[in-house]
Amino acid sequence: MSAPATLKATSRTMVIDGNEAAAWGAALSRPDVVAVYPITPQSSLVEYLAKFIAEGKMDAELMDVEGEHSVLSVLHGACLAGGRTYSATSAQGLAYMFEPYFRTPGLRLPMVVSLVTRDSVTPCCVWGGQQDAMTVKEVGWIQMYCETQQEICDSIPIAYKVAEHADVMLPVNVCHDGNYLSYGVARVDLPEQEVVDAFLGEKNVNWHACLDPERPMAVDPLTGGAGGIGPSTFVRYRKGQCAGMAAALDVIVAAHEDWGRRTGRYWSPLIEDYRMEDAEVALVTIGSMTGAAKDAVDDARLDGRKVGLVKIKTFRPFPAKVIAKALSKVKAVGVVDRAVNFGWNCGPVFQEVLAALYANPTRVPLISFIGGLAGADITPEHFGRAIADTVRVAAGETMSSPIWLNEFDQ
């Protein structure tokens, strides 16, 4: 379900870009410690945070550190000491952050870090794309992809609710597309602080592992070895991490539902079905591209083609069952990615959907579209082509995949 069509302007209605929407979402969640380091296209987001703290709008420790590796490292310390933590990064910053990033889910630290998604080097590029976030999809962070500025603002408190849930205790990346959402301006209704406070409740982020002289413990002793209790201890940690991920699916649904009751904005928690009731072919999209894709679906419907769309919001954990169900009645699926899976010569979302559909009794053809790399626009015309190609595949035609939507843009 999307945002309701009728929105009433209030004193907290603003016209802002996605980075400011994220900063407001973070501020309303009252983190204790915020660590920042600038990187395009995230920079204005951390500038807003610094400004909010400077102006007293936000009561958080601001840590301007020397790089993304330390951004996440100081947050590890703050979180283990008991603090709620927030940061944001992109592309090269995420790459530089990778060492502590890899460690965060294993420590079960319930942080929220926005990824302002971007393509990266090489070829050198500072423009939008989702290659950064998609490259770290197996690390163990929850990933939610936003479609609009309002959804960014709302999804950050929702992310804390999910991360800090006792059954989950995992970090969350709230992803929004660089350029299109980071700099694109739209109307955002800020939730009331009391609403967010009541929604989030008391924080308790280090009940499981802490660095506190009042509760002395050794955090992260070495495990493993050739046999016995070492490897089996490690196995139980890993299994617990997977259990937390699996539990997150229901928690994400419940948190979105709870948010909807409190704010009137019911965002689709895992996937959103758009005109899928009688659809014969479907597009699968993720992130901000979805708006243009929906327009293209509407145009196709006007032409009498039974086309629907499934948008993925939660990519990690992957909602395989609901996706398999949503696509169980179509004759072909076209998956549009803003990133590349080099190993399989397709888009990463395509590969995931392909795997999910294996559970369905009927095999349907899938086609991978890759567009929007390096800041390229995926226009309704591009989606029109994707729909036309998917219809042809549904009719039995075979096509070479992936199809690079922007390959011949001038």
Binding site: S70, A218, P221
Partner: protein, 469 residues
Amino acid sequence: MSIAFDTIAFRAPKCDGCGECMKACSAVKQGASRISIVPGASAGAFEMALCRQCGDPKCVMVCPAGALTKNGASGVIDWSADKCVDCLLCTSGCAYGAISADPVGGRVIKCDQCGGDPACVSACPSGALEWGGAGSIYNRFGEMEDMFVPGLAGCQGCNSELIMRHVMRRVGRNSVLATPPGCIPGMGSVGYNGKTGTKVPVFHPLLTNTASMLAGIRRYYDKVGRKDIVVMALAGDGGTVDCGFHAVSGAAERGEKILYVCVDNEGYMNTGMQRSGATPYGSWTSTTPVGDKLKGKTQDAKNMPMIMVAHRAAYVATASTAYMEELYDKLDRAIEASFKGFSYLHIYSPCPTGWRVASNKVIEACRMSVESNFVTLWEYTPEAGLRFTRSPDRPIPVVDYARTIGKYRHLDADQLAHIQAKVDEQVALLKRLAGEVATAPAALAAAPARTSTPDGAATPPLRHETFRP
């Protein structure tokens, strides 16, 4: 429980036989000197005869009058003029020639340590005599809780284990301890498979992010008003000067209020003795091996404490376990400074396994490193500048130190000359920073025992304004 006592220590290599100690003793005691400096077995060497204040004193045993007694509070063998019958049996009972008859008065004379402030030590111009406060340290800290379990799996003679235990005894329970990958967690401080070797909150940061993680902990505790917790690292040199450098530098630049103790064993000893940026020139390591073409490390060590001075950290000091009283003094100041800003304590830690030093020679290696100026002991604050805490004057040659260390066994004359030149250069730089006149390196090596003018009057060193970057 036994009690340890402070004592007068004699560093024979530093003694040039000037006799100032005897003159001072004689003056204070209004009679013959209780301390004797006598020519040693080899030319130019001297030995000392002085009461050892023995724990099992023969003089006391042979005294028929009960005039000699072991003082349980001070440790001194007290002599009672009232009880003494002047039989002088004690003078023949002492194996050290340290109790004798006054040639003038004829009565027994012996050292009473001047009540804890011995005149001979104050008078010694060469640093050969020192008042050793180790006994006081033992008494003060022996009662404090050891924050590590017995049986950590350090190598025999491990100096780092000594450092860990002493530092954490002093810091106490109200602390959070980071031990990045290396020997310190490797010997079991963080622990294995759910068991820990430490009684305070302890964790492995990444090798690369120790100072950052600690900064986050400190900021949160400060924010919630828990400002009295010592937030600290016991980190190796690799994680400090190499891959963790950015985090240390960033934390120092921001003035993060943490105590960062670098335990410098000059390389990656835990992973099999590879070179680090702190490994000195010429060292054999497993990645700077010695063969026909390569003869150990070809670069000099990065000087991390000086880099911390350049950051204007709230406190920077170097320390050595050969001088525990000084280490404890610096630890006190380092802890205090860690509540105000970035506090950095660099402790040199010879590794018996990786350096090829016998486990019973580790402290000797520590001492000779300082005596040769290979290691200099100093401290710095932005307010007071840099000052030496042990004089670098009258060093022993670096080659004497290098000979005690197996990893330098292969060094040829050119390599040794390189090391000596770098040591001299380093001391000259430190002297300039400390506001002392730097002697030219070549002249330094050839400097006379004491600076003197032609007429023999001692010349005090000129002092400039103390270094304040």
